[in-house]
C-alpha cells in the first residue's frame, strides 16, 4: 500500500485519465477515454446504462485494472491496484448501493471505516471526536441509531460524510440523488458544490438527470458505448446537445398520444389498505385510492415509504392487515383465479427477480399466465409445449424481444429484453387493471421510451393503471393524476394539470 500521511488540510484533488481502455473477453467496455477533472470542480459523467460510466470509475477506484491507459492524480501518474490505493490518493467513492452496515450505528460505521481503527474503542472519546467533525460538516446525521433505522436520505448523507471523515478529497458519486427527495437533492448538491467552490473538494458525479447537471456541475463528459463522445463546460452546452451526445442517432419511438376520456367509471378501488413490512412494522397505513378506466395514477415518493409494500399487496405477494380491494365495485383478492377473472396484470420492479424465473426459458416465462388454460393445458393436466412455443414466438416477434431462441434461459437476456418479455406476457391480452412499479429502472433510452408508450397504450385502451415510480419525471410524463406517498400514507393527490415539482417535493418529504 502506498499510503502517505496526509498533509493537513488536504486540498481538492485533480484527476486525469489518459486513454483508459477496458476489455472484458470480447466486449470492449471502455475505449480510449481521457477525461480531465479540474481540482475544485463538480464534474458530471453522463451516459446511458451500459455506456461505460461504471467501468470507468471502477478503473479509477482500482476495482478493475484497465487494459490500457493511466490515471494521473494531481498531474502525477498514480498506480491504483485496489480501492485502498485509491483511498491513499484521497479518492473515495459513494456507491449507489449503500456500503454502510445496517446493524451498526452511524458512529460504528464511521470508526470502522478508518484505515486503522483502534483495537479497543474508547467510545466516549470517539463520539466526542465525531461530534466535533460533524460540527464542521454541512449536514448532520444521528450518530447512535443503527443505520437500518435511518431514512434513505440520511444514509446517502452518511455515505458522503464517511468519505469526508476519511479525508478523501475527490469524491466519486454514483447517481447520488436517486434516493433523495428533490428538496434533499438540492440541499446535498448545493452544499457539496459549496465545498468544491471553496477548493476543499473535487467531485466526479455519475448522473442521468440533466436538471442536476445543468444546475450544479461545472464540466461534463459524455460517454456512449464505451467511448467519450463529447464534453466541456456545462454553461456552453444545451440539454439538447447533451442528450444528443448520449443517445446518438438511435431511433426513439414516438410517445403514444394521450387520449381524452371523461366521466369514466371507477375500476380499481383501494379502501383503507394497511400492511406490515418484513420486520412486522406497519409500512402501509390506510391508503385510499380510486382509479378510473383510462387513467394513470402515478404514486410518487422517495423509496422506502411503503410503495413496494403496497405493490406487494396488490400483486398478492403480501397479506394486508386491514382494508379491502374492489374492482368494478366487486371485492377482489389478489389470487390467480381472481386476477384472471378481473384481468389484473402487473409489471413489478426488477422483473428478473419479481416477475420471472431466472433459469426457465423465455417461452416458459411468457407462458406463466396461460400455461394452465387451453390451448397450452390439455386434458388430464398435461401440458402441450407446441402451442406454448408457438405463442412465445409470436409474442417475441411482436414485442421485439431480442433472444437467441425461445428456449434461452431468461436470465441471459439484457434488462430491456427481460422487461419486454414480461410486457409481452402481461399486456398481450385484454387488460382492465395494470399495476406498474419502476418499469424503466436501469434501462436505456430506447427501451424506456418503448415501455412508457406501451403503458400509455393500455391506458388509451381503457385500462386503469397504477404506476409507482421513484423517478418523478416518469410520473409527471405518464400520469393523469399524481398521488404522493410518504410515511406509508397518501396525503396529497393532484391532477396532472395542477401538479408542480415544488409541492410534490414537499409532500414527498412529508410536509
Amino acid at each position: 500500500m502506498s499510503a502517505v500521511p496526509a498533509p493537513h488540510p488536504r486540498r481538492a484533488v485533480e484527476l486525469q485519465t489518459i486513454g483508459m481502455t477496458k476489455i472484458f473477453g470480447s466486449l470492449i467496455a471502455l475505449e480510449d477515454v481521457s477525461i480531465h477533472v479540474r481540482p475544485g470542480t463538480l464534474h458530471a459523467l453522463l451516459g446511458e446504462n451500459g455506456a461505460g460510466k461504471s467501468t470507468l470509475v471502477k478503473c479509477i477506484m482500482g476495482f478493475y485494472q484497465p487494459t490500457r491507459g493511466e490515471v494521473l492524480v494531481d498531474g502525477k501518474e498514480a498506480v491504483i491496484a485496489s480501492p485502498r490505493d485509491a483511498h491513499a490518493h484521497g479518492i473515495g467513492m459513494v456507491y449507489q448501493h449503500f456500503t454502510l452496515v445496517p446493524s451498526l450505528t452511524a458512529a460504528e460505521n464511521l470508526v470502522i471505516s478508518r484505515a486503522h481503527p483502534p483495537a479497543v474503542i474508547d467510545w466516549k472519546k470517539e463520539i466526542a471526536g465525531l461530534e466535533e467533525f460533524l460540527s464542521r460538516m454541512p449536514f448532520k446525521v444521528p450518530l447512535t441509531v443503527p443505520v437500518s433505522g435511518l431514512s434513505a436520505g440520511e444514509k446517502q448523507k452518511l455515505e458522503i460524510l464517511k468519505q469526508l471523515y476519511l479525508d478523501q478529497r475527490l469524491l466519486i458519486l454514483d447517481e447520488p440523488t436517486s434516493v433523495l427527495t428533490p428538496g434533499e437533492a438540492d440541499e446535498v448538491l448545493g452544499l457539496l458544490r459549496g465545498m468544491t467552490e471553496a477548493g476543499d473538494l473535487t467531485i466526479l458525479m455519475i448522473s442521468h438527470k440533466f436538471r442536476e447537471v445543468t444546475a450544479y456541475a461545472d464540466d461534463v463528459t459524455v460517454l456512449r458505448r464505451g467511448r467519450m463522445v463529447g464534453g466541456g463546460r456545462v454553461g456552453e452546452l444545451s440539454v439538447d446537445d447533451m442528450s444528443h451526445m448520449m443517445i446518438g442517432d438511435t431511433k426513439i419511438r414516438e410517445r403514444a398520444a394521450r387520449k381524452e376520456f371523461s366521466g369514466e367509471p371507477v375500476v380499481l378501488e383501494l379502501a383503507g389498505i394497511f400492511s406490515d413490512d418484513d420486520t412486522g412494522l406497519p409500512a402501509v397505513k390506510g391508503v385510499n385510492l380510486k382509479i378510473h378506466a383510462g387513467e394513470i395514477v402515478g404514486i410518487a415518493g422517495v423509496s422506502g415509504n411503503g410503495q413496494s409494500t403496497l405493490i406487494e399487496v396488490l400483486s398478492g405477494q403480501r397479506e394486508m392487515s386491514d382494508g379491502r380491494l374492489f374492482i368494478h365495485g366487486k371485492p377482489f383478492e389478489p389470487t390467480r383465479q381472481k386476477m384472471a377473472e378481473f384481468k389484473v396484470f402487473g409489471l413489478p420492479e426488477e422483473p428478473l427477480k419479481n416477475a420471472a424465473v431466472r433459469r426457465m426459458s423465455v417461452a416458459e416465462n411468457i407462458a406463466f399466465r396461460s400455461f394452465d388454460k387451453p390451448p397450452i393445458a390439455g386434458r388430464f393436466g398435461f401440458m402441450s409445449p407446441k402451442p406454448m412455443r408457438q405463442k412465445a414466438r409470436e409474442l417475441i416477434a411482436q414485442y421485439r424481444v431480442k433472444t437467441p431462441s425461445p428456449e434461452e434461459p431468461i436470465e441471459n437476456l439484457s434488462g430491456g429484453n427481460v422487461q419486454r418479455a414480461i410486457l409481452a406476457r402481461e399486456l398481450s391480452g385484454e387488460v382492465e387493471v395494470l399495476v406498474v412499479a419502476n418499469p424503466c429502472f436501469g434501462l436505456d433510452f430506447a427501451s424506456v421510451s418503448e415501455i412508457r408508450s406501451q403503458i400509455m397504450d393500455q391506458r388509451n385502451r381503457g385500462a386503469a393503471v397504477l404506476l409507482v415510480s421513484e423517478d418523478l419525471d416518469e410520473i409527471l410524463e405518464l400520469s393523469d393524476r399524481v398521488a404522493v406517498m410518504s410515511g406509508g400514507a397518501i396525503h396529497y393527490v393532484v391532477p396532472i394539470a395542477e401538479a408542480d415539482r415544488n409541492s410534490i417535493g414537499k409532500a414527498m418529504a412529508g410536509h
Partner: protein, 308 residues
C-alpha cells in the same frame, strides 16, 4: 421425615443444579455458533465438533491424566473442524448448511471410530468448586458444586457481548456478517474473517464437548450429545444473536434438560422419557413462537444464508 429430606423442594433445587450442569455445553456451543453466525456463516457441524471434542478430551485426559489438558485438546480439535468448514466454505458455490451437515456426520463418525477404545476406561474428571459450604443440607451442597467451565462460559459471554461493541475485531465480525459488500469495500477479506470466526467458534464447541465427557454426564459414550449441538443453533436464533441472551437461553435449555432427572430424584418415574424430551419440545415451541413467515428475524445478521 428426617431433617435432610426437603420433599418437593428437591425438584426446583435439582433443576437449578441441573440447569447449571446441563447448560454449560449449550452455552459453549451456542457462543461458538453465535460468533460464527455473527460473521455471516452457519456452522451446523458443531454437533459433530461437540461429539469429537467429547471423545478427544476424554481420550487425552485418560492418556495424560490431566483433565484440563483434555479440555484444551478438545478445543484444538474443534478448531480443526471449524477450520475445515471455514476453508471449504471459502470455495466458490459452496453452501454452508450442506457442508455443516456433512461435517456433523464426519465429526460424529470420526469420534465413534477413534472413540471405541475409550468407552471402558475411566478418565479423571474435571474438579468442581464447592460454593455450598454454608449450608448443612447435602442437597444444597451438591447443587452448588459448580464446574469452573460454567464461570468461564459466563465470562466468555460477557466478554463477547462487550467485544462485539467495543473492539475493532468485534465490529469487523459484525460488519462481515451483516454486509459483505461493505466489508469488501473497506478492504477486509470476508472469507478470512469468516474462516477465523468459524475456527474460533469450533474451539468453543470442542470445549463444550469436553465438559460432557469429563464432567457431566462424565464418561465417553456414543449417545453422549443427543443433538445438543443442533439445539444450540436454535438457541442462537432464540437468543437473537446476543451472547448474553445465549447465556439465558442456555440456562433455560439446561433447566428443561434437567426436568426428567429432577423428577426422577423425588420419585416421579412416570413419564420419565416424556420429561426427558423437554429440551426437544422446547426447541420446537421456541422456533414456532419466535419465527414468523410474515416478518424477517429481528437482529439476524444480513449475510446468513437462512435470512437472505
Amino acid at each position: 421425615m428426617n431433617e435432610t429430606d426437603i420433599g418437593f423442594w428437591g425438584v426446583p433445587l435439582a433443576m437449578f443444579a441441573g440447569a447449571i450442569r446441563v447448560s454449560t455445553p449449550f452455552l459453549f456451543v451456542s457462543l461458538g455458533e453465535c460468533l460464527t453466525e455473527k460473521s455471516g456463516r452457519i456452522n451446523l457441524g458443531l454437533e459433530g465438533t461437540l461429539v469429537f471434542g467429547a471423545m478427544s478430551g476424554y481420550a487425552v485426559a485418560y492418556l495424560t491424566g490431566s483433565p484440563w489438558f483434555g479440555v484444551f485438546c478438545a478445543g484444538l480439535s474443534g478448531c480443526f473442524f471449524g477450520a475445515i468448514h471455514g476453508y471449504i466454505c471459502k470455495l466458490p458455490k459452496v453452501n454452508d448448511i450442506a457442508i455443516g451437515i456433512a461435517m456433523m456426520l464426519f465429526g460424529t463418525g470420526l469420534a465413534f471410530f477413534f472413540g471405541k477404545p475409550f468407552i471402558q476406561p475411566q478418565a479423571p474428571h474435571l474438579p468442581s468448586i464447592s460454593l455450598g459450604g454454608w449450608s448443612s443440607l447435602p442437597q444444597v451442597r451438591s447443587a452448588l458444586e459448580i464446574n469452573p467451565l460454567f464461570f468461564i462460559g459466563i465470562a466468555l459471554a460477557v466478554f463477547m457481548w462487550w467485544a462485539f461493541k467495543n473492539t475493532r475485531w468485534g465490529l469487523i465480525v459484525r460488519m462481515t456478517g451483516d454486509s459483505a459488500p461493505a466489508a469488501l469495500a473497506m478492504g477486509y477479506s470476508v472469507d478470512w474473517v469468516r474462516f477465523l470466526a468459524t475456527t474460533v467458534g469450533g474451539f468453543f464447541a470442542g470445549v463444550g464437548g469436553a465438559f460432557l465427557s469429563l464432567y457431566y454426564p462424565g464418561a465417553w459414550s456414543e449417545g453422549l450429545s443427543s443433538g445438543q449441538g443442533l439445539m444450540a443453533v436454535a438457541l442462537v436464533i432464540f437468543a437473537r444473536w446476543n451472547p448474553l441472551a445465549c447465556f439465558g437461553a442456555a440456562l433455560l435449555f439446561g433447566a428443561a434438560g434437567a426436568l426428567g432427572p429432577a423428577l426422577q430424584s423425588v420419585g416421579i418415574t412416570q413419564g420419565y422419557y416424556f420429561f426427558n424430551a423437554a429440551p426437544y419440545l422446547l426447541t420446537l415451541f421456541i422456533m414456532i413462537a419466535s419465527v414468523s413467515p410474515k416478518r424477517s428475524l429481528k437482529g439476524a445478521p444480513g449475510e446468513l444464508s437462512i435470512t437472505k
